[in-house]
Amino acid sequence: MAIQILIHGFLLSGLYALIAIGFTMIFSVGRVLNLAYGVYIMLGGYTYFMAAQEAGLPVFVSFILALLSGVAFGLLTYELLVRRLENNPVAVEISTLILAVVMQAAIILIFSPSPKSMWPVLRGVLRFEEVSVTANILLATGVSWVVLALLMLFVRRTHLGRAIRAVSMDRRGALISGIDPRNISRVTWGLSGALGAIAGVFFATITQLDPHMWVFPLITAVAVVIVGGIGSILGGLIAAHIIGFLETITTTLIAPELRGVVTMALIIVVLVVMPKGLFGKEEL
């Protein structure tokens, strides 16, 4: 049991880190909380469901379509709302929350309020001694870590990636280096949508696909940012693991209904005790 929890906690944490990173990026670059972020996750899930299960497209193609839906919706959020409300974080936060609720209603209208049962992206169960893990969650974790590593390389080794970090550290410094912060915002919102949607495909297959599924990942993302300290990738990774393990312990040992509750409690505790998080430094 203990080893099962350990392994599941570890696997889940990779996915949580992926969920959180797309959310953190937006905060680092634009200093706003994107409360519509959970929608990218939901959209990823539904698009994949439509493509793979309803239309019978190959897994890989369905995955790409899900990713593109995230990019498109991320860009749309930026162009239609965020860009127009620049310099007013509260307005951005209120309007992205409203957008999330509107999207929830839209999903209910189109797909009905009841949950859809999703097939795993990868079938099968792997057993080692008394421990069993699904191939699906292994794939989710593997993809999460690969995407995180690629993202790390991107922001550290490419001109565009460095420009994103530059804007997040000193906007004016970036401006006078010839970087257009609006373009960087666009790239970041598109990327954030992609990351959310990729995470969403796995999140939906591991939990379930329903019109309310945007709430929990959003809370997780907020928690990772708050616990890990704003904008720190390493802090985010560690925070994702703390939360992943806490979730696994409470949902397996106490009750599955407690998913999210411990995370929210953790948010409050960290806010009160150490407002800058464990690793608070303003970088990406």
């Binding site: 401006l175 006078i176 303003e282």
Partner: protein
């Protein structure tokens, strides 16, 4: 040839006017200094050239009207800026800060890195050091270096000696003079340190409460302004 020309520039912060009808010309290849006490509007003037303020009037650079242009585009035309307080990227290393400066000039990165490291060997020794942990002098060097990474025709420097020890000031002055004499780089530099400015510049403008009060060669200004000492204690 006039490289930069500013005519009747008014700049506002909200309703407060910080610059009143400022005009200034910079000939290619020269060093122009803008001196004036704290709050005179030096930074506001330099920020305005980079398109960072709310402004009226006319600014042309290298034959193009840049009055309404966005900062990113102005940089691409060939203006490098080392602003007040540096605006470096605190959690990037020295080398990474320089690479960001090359965002618009990727084909000349190696040559420009070599040039910057030639001017400031200290930067080359500590390429990985995060700029947040640098000394004031190193930060000023990095700020100049970053501005040079875009191969500018005009280098604008806001109070390079602020808070620096006299020895470091001399080092910086020597670099600015070298750049100007050896590569023909045009420089606009603001200063409260009058001696520093006078020793470098061919043309000096005195800015006071948002207006140009005097302009001329350093000798002209010294004669017109015996009072300079009461102003700047220099």
């Amino acid at each position: 040839m006039t490289l930069l020309s500013i005519t009747d520039l008014d700049v506002f912060y909200g309703k407060a006017q910080a610059l009143h009808g400022v005009s200034l010309d910079v000939t290619a290849g020269e060093i122009v200094a803008i001196i004036g006490p704290n709050g005179a509007g030096k930074s506001t003037l330099l920020d305005s050239i980079l398109g960072l303020t709310k402004r009226q009037g006319s600014i042309t650079f290298d034959g193009q009207d840049i009055t309404r242009m966005a900062a990113a585009k102005i940089v691409r035309l060939g203006i490098g800026y080392a602003p007040e307080r540096g605006h470096l990227f605190p959690f990037m290393g020295v080398r990474e800060n320089l690479l960001v400066g090359a965002y618009r000039k990727r084909d000349e990165i190696d040559a420009n890195l070599a040039k910057v490291f030639g001017l400031f060997p200290r930067l080359e020794e500590r390429q990985k050091q995060e700029s947040a942990t640098q000394s004031g002098g190193e930060r000023q060097m990095l700020s100049l270096g970053r501005a040079l990474m875009s191969s500018p025709k005009l280098l604008i420097i806001d109070e390079p000696t602020m808070g620096l020890a006299p020895r470091v000031c001399q080092e910086i002055a020597a670099v600015i003079r070298d750049l100007n004499q050896q590569t023909g780089l045009t420089v606009v530099v603001s200063e409260q340190n009058v001696n520093f400015a006078m020793s470098l510049a061919g043309q000096v403008y005195l800015l006071e409460t948002g207006r140009i009060r005097e302009k001329g060669t350093p000798e002209d200004l010294r004669q017109k302004l015996d009072i300079a000492e009461t102003y700047f204690g220099a």
